[in-house]
């Protein structure tokens, strides 16, 4: 029911400490946008600015074409679900859910109808007369969501809503939120999390925040398959993408690079021009894209230091790579169970469509 438009939004504390700057983002109606980023990147702050709980110190925020920078939270047409649920402990579930409507001076019949409908949707009917302390964590979170639903907001804001739940409940509640979104295709949702799985599974588009700004905006698979920069490449996907030093030796539709002092040349599907010849690049290969090879042309050769057998995959951690001391540990993820790898020297390569190229931190795909 709403479009959001953030233009040059910035947040500065005390006039000196920049937390966020130059945030430009268009959110369309019906989207489920997920903000992810490392802790301290300002994702919660950005959400709270949209909610109106933090002052916007620069730029404009529009909801449905109307600038709402100075509109109080309750009049922005938003509803927020907090990390700690933030239920009013002295009110029953019913009172919690009807509080906003009572403040808005809605009639009792309207309030009852809205609360009952939300309770039904969230399977909270048996608990309506209980106090929050008599509910489990998952039930409390549903009440918090119900409190948002009854207000029928234009935009739902979720601030790490699952991080207080245990692992099993988190998965169940995540699926419930996905189903809720499906049941309300018209409503716009913004969801903050530090959990990649939540981001990948729920989002229609993910906004990766880093270094006080937006690192990349895109669909989950966009971010995975075509990261715009090294930060997103390493942030999305687990374990993080391996970055190896390399030099461009052939340009064109496909690019040939030699990696470190490794053996020969590997190909990448990223197109380059003649200007890029001899350019130093970082070659990015995800652990799951690493393939063992016997070929003379390989991307990496190293001794297996640690193996982690997870059953469905086996993760190989390589000892200090022979090429470069300040390169991160290289990790390969091989399908299935691979036995007796420890201490062995392995050569790895990757398919050309899986090889990413970065120069000065940015992907050569985006130029």
């Amino acid at each position: 029911m709403a479009e959001l438009k953030l233009t040059d939004v910035a947040k500065t504390y005390g006039g000196t400490v920049d937390v966020l700057k130059n945030i430009n983002l268009d959110i369309e109606q019906g989207e489920l946008i997920v903000f992810v980023g490392p802790s301290g990147c300002g994702k919660s702050t950005l959400l709270r600015m949209i909610a109106g709980l933090e002052k916007i110190t620069g730029g404009t925020l529009e909801i449905d074409g109307q600038v709402v920078n100075d509109v109080p939270p309750s009049e922005r047409g938003i509803a927020m679900v907090f990390q700690s649920y933030a239920l009013y402990p002295h009110m029953t579930v019913r009172e919690n859910m009807s509080f906003a409507l009572k403040l808005a001076k809605k009639s009792q019949s309207e309030i009852d109808a809205a609360v009952n409908a939300a309770a039904k949707k969230l399977q909270l009917e048996p608990y309506l007369d209980r106090l929050p302390k008599a509910l489990s964590g998952g039930q409390r979170q549903r009440v918090a969501i119900g409190r948002s639903i009854v207000r029928d907001p234009k935009v739902y804001l979720f601030d790490e809503p699952l991080s207080n739940l245990d692992a099993a409940l988190r998965v169940a509640t995540r699926i419930e939120i996905a189903q809720l979104k499906e049941a309300m295709p018209e409503s716009t949702m913004i969801y903050v999390t530090h959990d990649q799985v939540e981001a990948m599974t729920l989002a229609s588009r993910i906004v990766v925040l880093a270094n006080k700004g937006i690192a990349q905006v895109g669909t989950p698979l966009d971010l995975y398959e075509r990261p715009e920069n090294e930060f997103v490449a390493q942030f999305i996907g687990s374990p993080a993408m391996n970055l190896l030093r390399g030099v461009v030796v052939e340009t064109g539709e496909r690019t040939g690079v030699t990696v470190g002092d490794g053996g020969g040349m590997i190909w990448s599907d990223v197109p380059t021009t003649g200007e890029d010849l001899n350019r130093e690049v970082n070659v990015g290969i995800r652990p799951e894209d690493m393939l063992p090879t016997e070929d003379e042309n390989y991307a990496f050769e190293g001794t297996v230091d640690i193996t982690e057998a997870l059953g469905e995959v086996t993760q190989l951690y390589f000892a200090a790579p022979k090429m470069d001391e300040d390169t991160d540990t290289v990790i390969a993820k091989l399908p299935g169970v691979v036995r007796d790898m420890r201490g062995k020297t392995v050569r790895l390569t990757a398919a050309p469509e899986k090889v990413h190229l970065f120069a000065e931190g940015r992907s050569l795909l985006y130029r």
Binding site: A51, G52, L53, P72, P73, S74, E75, I78, A79, M80, F82, Q83, S84, Y85, A86, L87, Y88, P89, H90, M91, F99, A100, L103, A104, R147, R151
Partner: protein, 334 residues
């Protein structure tokens, strides 16, 4: 001997005596009475451990018994007897009580006590809550809180003297040294002897206690307000609550338990109120209260029977509130 030296010796003897008592009594228990050796070592250890808690409890039990429990029983006995001239007692039944009830001063004291009971805890708690909320998260809040809390450090008698000066009266035309009259005169009014105005002078006395207890209420309630999860307040803001609704519908209900504890604690102080009335009016001009009435009867009129009877009345009034207070305080701690 120099009094300071006496004080030091008292402290050394007192503290040293405590340490010595605990040390030697435990030593006696473990080495002499039930030594942890010989054929019955295990049984002896168990027995010693059964007795040990009582060693630690004994001094407190003795002191409380002597100074709290025994006086209650003795007061009850005194209230039911009359002293005979030349010594000895006679059983008087409820005679002292009926005599007391017939005394108009007792009725006045009871009425005034009720008045104190309703006004002082209510206003102290209300002002304390107001001060706690207004000073919350403000730069100079800590300074304001210290100033409001300061009267707590003054004894009731000291406070009574200060306020007696505030209410001081000098004849019209003279320099008014009482602040209240000075203000009244400067506004063109006539000076009044405030403490002699029946009925209203009760409230002038109550002001002293409210002035003191507001600081207490503020400190406790301020801590309780800090304990309210910030997100519930933010949720209320998003829900559209204005500052008054946030305060009365979100914050106050969440600290209701603490408010009750503060309220009942002040109520108990009020029921026992003595010093302020004693020092400022001594119960004259219709300001009598129960504790001062008891003091009057017991130590001025030497009427031990009626004095003890009024003491029993005070105890009966305090007990239920005390029980309620302890119950709530325990509930808060859980």
């Amino acid at each position: 001997m120099h009094p300071a030296l006496q004080g030091v010796i008292t402290i050394i003897v007192g503290v040293g005596g405590c340490v010595a008592y605990f040390y030697f009594s435990n030593l006696f228990l473990d080495k002499v009475l039930y030594p942890a050796r010989g054929p019955n070592a295990g049984r002896n250890i168990n027995r010693a451990n059964l007795i040990r808690p009582w060693l630690f409890l004994a001094p407190a039990v003795l002191a409380l018994g002597l100074y709290l429990a025994y006086p209650v029983v003795e007061t009850l006995r005194l209230s039911l007897t009359n002293r005979l001239p030349g010594g000895g007692y006679e059983w008087a039944g409820l005679e002292n009580y009926s005599q007391m009830v017939a005394d108009p001063k007792f009725g006045e004291a009871l009425f005034n006590n009720m008045l104190w009971l309703f006004v002082v805890p209510a206003l102290s708690t209300a002002f304390g809550l107001l001060a706690a909320q207004l000073t919350d998260r403000i730069k100079w809040g800590a300074v304001a809180k210290s100033i409001i809390f300061m009267p707590m450090a003054i004894s009731f008698v000291g406070a009574a003297v200060i306020w007696k000066l505030v209410y001081d009266y000098r004849a019209a035309g003279e320099e008014q040294i009482g602040v209240l009259n000075a203000i009244v005169v400067s506004l063109g009014g006539e000076p009044t002897a405030w403490l002699t105005v029946p009925f209203w002078n009760n409230f002038f006395l109550m002001a002293v206690l409210i002035w003191i207890q507001t600081g207490f209420a503020m400190v406790i309630l301020s801590a309780a307000l800090r304990g309210i999860p910030e997100e519930t307040v933010e949720a209320a803001i998003v829900d559209g609550a204005n500052p008054f609704q946030i305060f009365f519908k979100i914050k106050v209900p969440q600290i209701m338990g603490t408010i009750v504890v503060v309220w009942t604690t002040i109520t108990i102080v009020v029921l026992k109120i003595f010093d302020i009335v004693f020092a400022m009016t001594n119960g004259q001009w219709e300001t009598q209260v129960l504790a001062n009435y008891m003091y009057d009867k017991l130590f001025r009129a030497n009427d031990w029977g009626v004095g003890s009877a009024s003491a029993m009345v005070i105890m009966l009034l305090v007990t239920p509130i005390l029980v309620w207070n302890v119950y709530n305080a325990r509930k808060e701690m859980r």
